[in-house]
Amino acid sequence: MRLQHKTTLFYLIVSIPLVGIAAFVSYYVIRAELKNGTEEVLRTELHSAKKIIRTFGHPQSIRISSDGLSKIQLVENALPMEHIKDTLIFDPIEKENVEYTILRSNFRFKNQLFQIDLYKNNMDSEELLEGLWAGFGILIAFLFSGFLFVNWFISKTIWKPFFATIHRLEKYDLKQHDSFKLEQVSTYEFNQLNTVVNTMTNKIQNDFIQHKEFTENASHEMQTPLAVIKANLSILMQAPSLSEVEMNAIESIENTIKKLSALNRTLLLLTKIDNQQFTEVETLDLSKLCSSVLENYADLINSRDIKLELNLEHSLQVTMNGTLAEILISNLIQNAIRHNLNNGEIFISTTRNSLILSNTGNPLTMPSVELFLRFRKSVVNNESIGLGLSLVKSITEKNGFSISHSYSSHFHTFTLTI
């Protein structure tokens, strides 16, 4: 629910009972006033009636009003008094009970007792009530449209900086290096918001940069100790009479170091890609690149008796960093070889906007999407460090390409779409 709808609703929730109470109170106040008015009128009439009696002095009864109810009559055995009361009288024309106010006064004049009854109907006040309710209804309608207008106006003008901030935040990308700064605005609260957001994004940005630098530094720092181990191992290997056990141990250490340095190098590369350190771009043909990269792997493909089938006639032009393009293609091809079967097959083909690599292989032991996550690898192949495809993913994403995987009838197919 929008803020302006909410405030309008709250205004209504509060204002409807308030207006109701106001209407109720107004009704009684006005009614009391009317009653006073009625009584005043009756007393004025009483005064006139007494005047009539004094002037004419007739003992007979007199009708003194058009409604036929007010009258003067002679009475006996009564005390002089005066009182006002309300009563209901059936009106044969309207066919309903009508409320009347009656003023009765016993008035002694020349030893005669006159009883004066004055009637005044209160029909007006009931109509007033109806009018009141209608009036308040119109008032609520006006208030409501007023609220709506004011809210609309507020959101158009006063809330403008707020929506501007939201818009900027929506577009905010941590990985883009331009510093994020929201402008000063005239509203105090929004200014406060912008200041807080600025401080927060700066902190996040700094943390992010530090984190990236840490990863990069950590990988760098690891290279030297690795170099020390590797160097010492080279020396150890030269020892003249190594036993079989010792040689096995050396080999195992060597292989482990190789894996560790590959891991380290790949992590560093991933960090560098994330840090956008490969900014230079060129236009190159992925079909040609495939052919040249494949030359490096020809021996390996032969040694595993893998049948290679190429369909690279279509040129596939892309604009991207040359190093990354090579890493991308190398990793896809390496993947196709590593996870292949002996005597397997590899098909590589290009279309106008895609590169398709298929290779024979065992089905995945995990969902297809997880394939591109870091350190996900099939249990079967222990040589893999599990970063090759995440590297592929990272490079494709950075360049706005997409990569997908599918498996059917013993073939893994990777489709790179430009």
């Binding site: 030297t224 160097a231 290997m237 030269q238 050396i250 490096n296 032969n302």
Partner: protein, 226 residues
Amino acid sequence: MKILLIEDETELRNSIEQYLKLEGFLIESVADFTDASYKLADYNYDCILVDITLPNGNGLDLIRQVKKSQSKVGIIIISAKNSIDDKINGLDLGADDYLPKPFSLAELNSRIKALIRRNNFSGNTTLLLNEIAIIPEERLVKINDEKVLLTAKEFDLLLFFVMNKNRVVSKNTIAEHLWGDDSDQMDSHDFIYVHLRNLKKKLAEKGCKDYIQNIYGIGYNFNLEA
């Protein structure tokens, strides 16, 4: 052949020194920028191995300094930062080679030798080992004066063995030398076995002795002393 090694990590400095001494190089080593700067001002070297990040200074500045006074010196950058920028800067300043850590000593050795060979003999040199003659710049191999036709990989393999003669080189080191980072995640044995077998066969056909010893598990030794 005089080499100056500039490396701040003691362990690595010691191992490199030890290995290169075995190869017959005269090697001096320093651990920081200041010492290196003095050494370079006072003495001439055939080759310097320089780390980029050093205590009290940057290795690139040392390259600038040395290029002013000793233009013929060969320079190899050994750096933990495998950064393209450093590499380009270094090579622009006049460094001859860039070897990212971690490297194998056999690789370092073969690069130093190739560099010295290029610098001192203007490329026209024949390596003679008993019945084998190799002219690296022409990529030519002769056994008893008879040409052997080798593929590119076989030639590189033989040259690498010769550069590291009488040393045990591991299969991983060979694979790395021949295929670079591509060999990272593969079983090195797969990479080299076929080439090694063919090389051995071609050399034997021309009457070359089988110098390539298989060192169980680890790798090979091109052993001329046996």
